[in-house]
Symmetry: C2
Subunit: 434 residues, 2 copies
């Protein structure tokens, strides 16, 4: 699957926010970059951006992309952007396409869920349009939006002035490769509006509709739309991850989301946040090892919990901006393990001062168990469903409470028993399923 | 792909070794079980065994198979086994087949390499016969063996009495599903020899040849053949693994192969050997932690190195008997990590007695680094090629020398620096490739 992003228009109503509409800043990235990452995340192998107005700005933006993205982005210029419509821009991309393709608008914001729903559809020799049945939804101007009339899962008619509409056009299409020849031969003298091309397809019964349910999207024409898009994406953070444990769900996530919203517009990248988490964890470990007197114990506990909260922000930021990457997830996992080692070692050091040398072996058991739970999860998570799961959120809370309440040995006992028991159960259960 | 194993014949020449030829013991398993595992390992989803002579013995053997294997094995009885040939046995399996299938002989021993070469071929609407061009090879009786004449990659003729032969018939076929209807309608009154059926296919130009190169196989008819098969498979152990480091290749592997040969005929399973390695490692760790005086130090070092050598045996035994499994590899990795933790902790304990408390942090760094090298390898091994690799073999040698020479702190420094540096380099390099 390839992708085309139409980014040739002037976008005059947003010129107060940005001279080049596709490069309008949004949550630490730009409208265009967000859609490029979204398309790649949805499975596109290559993204063709059709430029027009301010082509040079977009060219410079492309040159500054990380190599991993830049290699997959191609710019195609529509030289007649000023006197043609968006269908003609799409026609410029057609000669470069080789198969089915996603078609997105640079000035639309889409959620990852919307994209996921759309790419699961079958264009069936025509095209699929993602439609939103929530007519009258907040944030969408019903007069300015393109509306569609549906019949038996197909689009019958679409347009801004449509009477008796069933849904909004979200501006996201999945098109079959069979459309390419007709697009490539589009004349500038014909009706070059994309909606006209799509109406033609609809007349042939080849434009299917894909209901996006309550997935978020926003057409961004004005600075009010931009503010609405920002708010809508930030609200999407609330969904959390299905894998979250109870500590994460009820304690950490609300706090980390609050922090992520504060970070969203900054230049902090998810990977930088992962390193920041390790730094905070290291300070917490130093304090834990050297603490004496209840204020320091309490502070160490608070810092550990803060690191645990902050540990949610890298992933949230990545999902919010579509900046997630295989490297990011891997880096986070490795740095988290170093953090685990530092904290458990610090706790063991405390226990060694307070109790006897036997705390050394207890600490090693806790450390090995914690590591092995993460190490064995690579494989066991693929095949086992575990009822109760002692994740990092709970481990960190045990450590935070252990030091705050001056009970390092109790915390180490909890970890050593729970973690090694988890590994032992996995060894037993995997025997039957692997 | 499915598989058929012909196991109906009497095998009178081997009756001194075993009443039921397919169940003749070989290297801690049986001829038949080895071929079942081999077929599954090569990608077969199901194995149909055609029985005849001593059907009940094979039925009982099947009931005692591990569930994971038993679910994939079906027995089909050839009631006329005494008065028909092996082609008629194959015909009994035909109604149960649904696609392309491997065809193996219960009384042949094949190497995994041979199977791999064969399943990579395309039966192209007919069949592929694995052939061995090493005429006069030791272990094969040239008068008793089935020979083939080749022309342009196809078999022209096959038979025991063939003049002007080009290669041996190894008794392993990959057959196309198109052969099934003809097989199912085979009459017992016609020539029911498999070689006659294959000759017919050859006459139609539909029997292709697949040269197995120097891959091992053996037709087992006599107790001399059985001894030759045992020796041939044990010799195959010598190949080692491409991923072996220098310590493994020149020091550990020769010793572990010697041990594996000793274990081969016992009932020790690879998984049991993995647990045994952990037990020896635990004893070595106990000794390391409590050693005083050079004889104990030396003994601890020798035990660590012994555990390292033994660590190669589980995999060797699994490859030798085709007993490898996803669970086995996973179990081994997890138990190895516990072993690492025990040894590094013991070394740290020694260093704590000898030096000051700062050895604690050094030990934690060595432990975390060692864990993280294994933890990060899950992903980095898939995409990175590392020039020098400090594997477990080298880590164990450093620990063994460290305790034997009474230099625990030096060993910990080596590990802490080398392991964490390896992780650091991976973090840098993966950024560009992930």
């Amino acid at each position: 699957m390839e992708a085309v992003i139409l980014a040739a228009g002037r976008g005059s109503r947003l010129q107060a926010s940005s001279a080049c509409k596709p490069l309008t800043p949004l949550l630490g990235t730009t409208l265009l970059e967000r859609n490029v990452r979204l398309a790649l995340h949805a499975g596109a192998t290559r993204v063709i951006i059709v430029t027009g107005h301010r082509h040079d700005d977009i060219h410079h933006w492309k040159q500054r992309l990380p190599l991993r993205l830049r290699h997959r982005v191609a710019l195609v210029h529509n030289p007649k952007w000023a006197c043609t419509e968006n269908g003609y821009s799409l026609a410029q991309a057609a000669p470069h396409l080789t198969g089915d393709f996603l078609l997105l608008m640079a000035d639309h914001v889409y959620s990852a869920e919307l994209m996921q729903t759309l790419v699961a559809c079958d264009p069936d020799g025509g095209a699929v349009l993602a439609v939103d049945r929530r007519l009258g939804r907040a944030g969408i101007d019903p007069h300015d939006a393109t509306k569609v009339r549906l019949e038996n899962g197909r689009v019958k008619a679409l347009g801004k002035g449509l009477q008796q509409a069933d849904a909004y056009d979200t501006g996201a299409f999945l098109c079959s490769a069979t459309l390419i020849p007709a697009l490539a031969s589009l004349r500038e003298t014909s009706d070059t509006r994309l909606s006209a091309l799509m109406q033609e397809l609809a007349d042939q019964g080849r434009l299917h509709a894909c209901d996006v349910g309550d997935a978020y999207w926003q057409d961004v024409d004005t600075s009010e739309d931009l503010a609405a898009a920002r708010a809508g994406l930030l609200a999407g953070l609330g969904k959390g991850k299905a894998a979250d444990g109870p500590v994460s769900r009820y304690l950490n996530r609300p706090c980390s989301r609050w922090l992520t919203r504060r970070m969203a517009d900054t230049r902090l990248t998810p990977n930088l946040v992962s390193w920041l988490v390790l730094a905070v964890t290291a300070v917490a470990a130093l304090l834990t090892a050297n603490a004496s007197g209840w204020p320091m114990y309490l502070l160490a506990g608070v810092l550990i919990q803060l690191a645990s909260v902050l540990d949610g922000c890298d992933g949230e930021l990545a999902r919010l901006r579509m900046q997630g990457s295989a490297y990011g997830g891997w880096l986070d996992a490795i740095l988290d393990r170093y953090g685990d080692a530092a904290l458990i070692a610090a706790m063991t050091w405390q226990a060694l001062q307070a109790g006897g040398p036997s705390a050394f072996w207890l600490g090693i058991a806790a450390l090995a168990g914690s590591f092995l739970v993460s190490y064995s999860a690579h494989k066991s998570d693929q095949v086992l469903r575990e009822g109760i799961r002692i994740g990092r959120d709970l481990r960190m809370l045990i450590l935070a409470l252990g030091i705050a309440l001056q009970q390092p040995e109790v915390a180490l006992w909890c970890l050593a028993l729970a973690m090694n028991f988890t590994v032992f159960m996995r060894l037993l259960r995997m025997r039957h399923v692997l």
